[in-house]
């Protein structure tokens, strides 16, 4: 296992099945090369993503999280993603206040729909997260051990 200092950032993506995931799929179809250290959890709608899940992910030693949803105005669920945006932007405030850093959560609504944009978002975000100060002081040692299987 690579050491904590040199390892690639770990990024968790919550992708809405109807835009974000289609974008990811398109990136795959066009075989756009991407760093391998991100995982996608498909959700039915961006509104599905509990802020607690984001916090949990960061607490579990994941360095950055992305929430991808449909264009505002294009949500399949009658603008359910509006409320999601509001919640997550509020969560960013909290992350910012505590120094976890607002960039540890990327809200990407709409831009994820097209394959190249998905790739851009992922690449940019890897750079962004790599530039952030390490999260270790925040993550209890227990969790790190728990995670060290990868």
């Amino acid at each position: 296992m690579e050491t904590e200092t040199t390892r690639q950032p770990r990024i968790l993506v919550f992708a809405c099945r109807w835009c974000g995931l289609i974008g990811a799929d398109g990136a795959g179809k066009n075989r756009i090369a991407l760093p391998s250290n991100f995982r996608i959890i498909p959700v039915e709608c961006a509104a599905y993503v509990e802020p607690d899940a984001i916090i949990r992910a960061l607490a579990s030693g994941i360095d950055g999280t992305i929430v991808m949803g449909c264009h505002v105005g294009g949500c399949r669920f009658n603008d359910a993603n509006h409320a999601a945006i509001k919640r997550l932007e509020l969560l960013k405030e909290l992350l910012d206040a505590t120094g976890v850093g607002r960039d540890r959560l990327l809200i990407s609504f709409g831009t994820a729909h097209e394959d190249h944009q998905f790739a851009e978002v992922i690449r940019d975000y890897f750079d962004t997260v790599a530039a952030l100060p390490p999260l270790e002081p925040w993550v209890s040692t227990l969790t790190m051990k728990h995670l060290s299987r990868s």
Partner: protein, 412 residues
Amino acid sequence: MMVQNNEKNPVLVVGGGVAGIIAAFDLAEMGRTVHLVDSAPLLGGQVAKLDKIYPTDHCAFCPLWTDIKKVQEHHRVIVHTTSKVTDITQDADGYNVVIVCDPPAIDESLCIFCGRCVDTCTKGAVRPLWAHAYPPAYFIDRQLCAECGDCVDVCPTEAINLNRTEVELFLAVDEVIWATGFKEADLSTLPEFGMGTHPDVMTSLEFEEWIAEAGVNKGTITRKVNGAVPKNIAFIQCVGARDQRMLPYCSAVCCMHALKQAQWVKRRNPLIDCTILYTDLRTVGRGYNEYSLRELHESAITFIRGRPGLIHPLPTGDAIAIKYENTLTQTREIAKFDMVVLNGNLQTSPARKAADSQHIPPLNGEGFVDTMQDEIPRYACGFNLEPADIAESVIQASSAAMKVTIKEELQK
């Protein structure tokens, strides 16, 4: 090969655009067997070519795809893609239709999109069906194909067969719904609009494709001629429309279409100036007029009332000159633009081959389906009936489907 269908009172829907899809789905839900015919390899029609739709500013593809999937998966809808209605005759108990299907060389149901055919093809004849085709599949352009058969050998799933022949299909249907939509009229008869004189003079659908996020430029706006970022773009309205020489009617959708495109240009690159030359800004519909106001105030788009008298590239070729009169300031002006988008030349696409014996469906002087000629009800929706945007087409489609249903009930 001949196929004679024997379902109970089937309906034929000609055209797989939004209108056709909805009409087919509604009838299928009502228990009718529906044959949905489209000449393209995929359903979706013109809307599938759009990048964004007004007034929601949301991708055109997603919602359309939802409905396409619903139709494709409906057990009562039989979809005939890459097919054409070649002959249609009417008798006492309905229509007899001949459909000619030209099956694609690659069987979409077997293609796993591995792309080996693309790599082997020296002619570049193999390309993806459509950026948004799900499930993804490749498609061989027979014009470019040299029939070398290399792709057939490399295909792991034996999906490719280069010598498939046309299939003729004979259908007996109770009713036909015409939903063949529109196509862009040829502008060569109106030379003053300068179509074809410069690569950066293009029709709005070409422009839409050019700036599409799924398109070649991935959503960035550049000039065709040199790939540079344009300084300014002119959108010309009522090109060939509301014009006795070509299309006397108003194409209804172009004002909003231009507003939409201008707004997206502004969003992606605020430095590009957008100018719309219009006659009347026809923004009827929920949120449409507000949309145009938003353009005016936020996006800072220039509106000029006037129709250009001449559009011609400068001798240097680096810009296009437009000569017009601003009818609100009563001044004649000549302006230079980097790109010119021509909007409005939308005509209903032929519902049948011109060589047909009977004239089914009967068309009126402007090319729209005449629904009540000599008291025989005909059913049409979308641009076959009247210039209409997505919402209107869909409404007309459902209404046509209802009419067909009622007709059936009345006969009982």
